[in-house]
Symmetry: C2
Subunit: 207 residues, 2 copies
C-alpha cells in the first residue's frame, strides 16, 4: 500500500536539489511566523497577500501531483523532504534534525515558536505528541527500515513552554514484530512530556 519511490539520484544531485529548495522552505517558515504575529494595517496585508498569491502561482506552474512522498535512492538513502516533522522542504516541519548516539539513544535539540502554540505561550499538547511520535519512531527503526506506530501514550507532567527544547528516545524492548520505545521532551527545567510507544514492523519487512 505504501509506495516508497526508488530513484537513481547521486549524492551530488541530491545536494543540488537540497540547495535549491531548502532555502525556500526556510523563508516560508519565517513568513508563517510573521503571518501569525503581524499587526500591520489592512492595506499592507492585502498587498502582501497579493504578492504571496503571485509567488504561489509561480511555484505551482510546475509541480508534482499530490504529496512529496518518500524517495529512496539506489544507494539506500531516504529523502523524507515533505515529512511534517523532519521534511526540509516542508515549512510546517520545525524541522527536527535527529541524531543517533552509539548506545542507540536518538535525540534532537529544536526550537518551537508561535506556530506551535496551544495554551498561551506554551507548546500545543498535540504538537508535543507529534514530535514524540516521530522521535520514538526513528528510535524504533535503527536499521533504517520503517516501523509504524501501533500505539503511543503521551503524558504531560508539566506545561511545555515555547522556545528551546530537547527530545530523546530509546528502545526498551523488542518482542517479535513489536518494538517498545520510550522518550521525552525537556526544557531547561527538566522533563515536560513523556511518551511510550509500540512500533510495528510492517508485514513486507518481516523475515
Amino acid at each position: 500500500m505504501l509506495e516508497f519511490t526508488v530513484e537513481d539520484l547521486s549524492a551530488e544531485e541530491i545536494e543540488r536539489l537540497r540547495a535549491i529548495y531548502e532555502p525556500l522552505a526556510v523563508s516560508v517558515r519565517e513568513l508563517v511566523d510573521a503571518t501569525i504575529r503581524t499587526e500591520v494595517d489592512a492595506d499592507t496585508v492585502a498587498a502582501v497577500k497579493a504578492d504571496i498569491d503571485a509567488a504561489t502561482a509561480r511555484l505551482r506552474s510546475n509541480q508534482i501531483d499530490g504529496a512529496f512522498g518518500v524517495k529512496r535512492t539506489t544507494s539506500g538513502q531516504s529523502m523524507s523532504w515533505g515529512n511534517a516533522v523532519i521534511g526540509l522542504r516542508n515549512p510546517i516541519a520545525p524541522p527536527l534534525d535527529i541524531h543517533r548516539d552509539p548506545d542507540g539513544r536518538y535525540w534532537c535539540d529544536f526550537d518551537l515558536g508561535a506556530a506551535y502554540e496551544g495554551p498561551p505561550g506554551h507548546v500545543h499538547g498535540g504538537v508535543s505528541a507529534l514530535v514524540l511520535d516521530h522521535v520514538l519512531g526513528e528510535a524504533a527503526s535503527p536499521d533504517g527500515k520503517p516501523r509504524f506506530t501501533g500505539s503511543i501514550t503521551v503524558r504531560y507532567p508539566r506545561a511545555c513552554p515555547l522556545g528551546a527544547l530537547h527530545a530523546e528516545a530509546q528502545i526498551t524492548r523488542v518482542d517479535g514484530v513489536k518494538t517498545f520505545v520510550s522518550g521525552y521532551i525537556s526544557d531547561a527545567e527538566g522533563i515536560t512530556v513523556e511518551a511510550d510507544g509500540v512500533f510495528i514492523t510492517p508485514r513486507w519487512l518481516r523475515d
Copy 2:
C-alpha cells in the same frame, strides 16, 4: 502560569480583524503546499524566495512580541487565532472547525494535504495525534473552560490516507478533576486512528 489576555473587543471589532488577517493565512497555507510540491527551476525559486522575504519583512515591520496567545473578550468569547490546530491566523493549522452536537458529541470534517505527510501518501501518525489531542480536549471542555491533557493514548489500526477526513470525540466519564474522553479519525472506509485521553481541570478552575 498561563496568561489568558482579556481584551474589551466588540463582536464588530473581532469580525473586522478576522476579515483582515484570515485571508492572509489562507494564502500562506497554499504557499506552504506549493513550496513542498514545486518543481520550478533554481532561478524561479530564488526569485520567489526574494519576494517572500520582502513580504515577511513588511509583515514584521509591526508585530507583537512572542506568540499570539489566547485573548478572551469581556463578553466571554475566546480567540485562539494562533492555535496550531484551530488558529485561523496560523498557516500551520488545517484549521479545524469543530462542531458540537446537542448530545455532547464534538466533530469536524477536514482535509489534510501534502504538508501533513508521514508515510508516502498518508497522514503522519503524529499529526493524527495532534488532531485528536485537540478534538478530545474540546470535548473535555463543554463549559468553555479549558482542561489540559493529562495523558492521551493513540492507536493506529490502519494507515490514514491524506485527503478528506472526519474526527469526533465524546466524554465517557467525569471523576473529580479528571474528564475521560474518547474519539477517532475516520476516512470513507471507516476508523483509521483511535484515542483515549484524560483531561485535567486546572487548579485555578476548581471549585
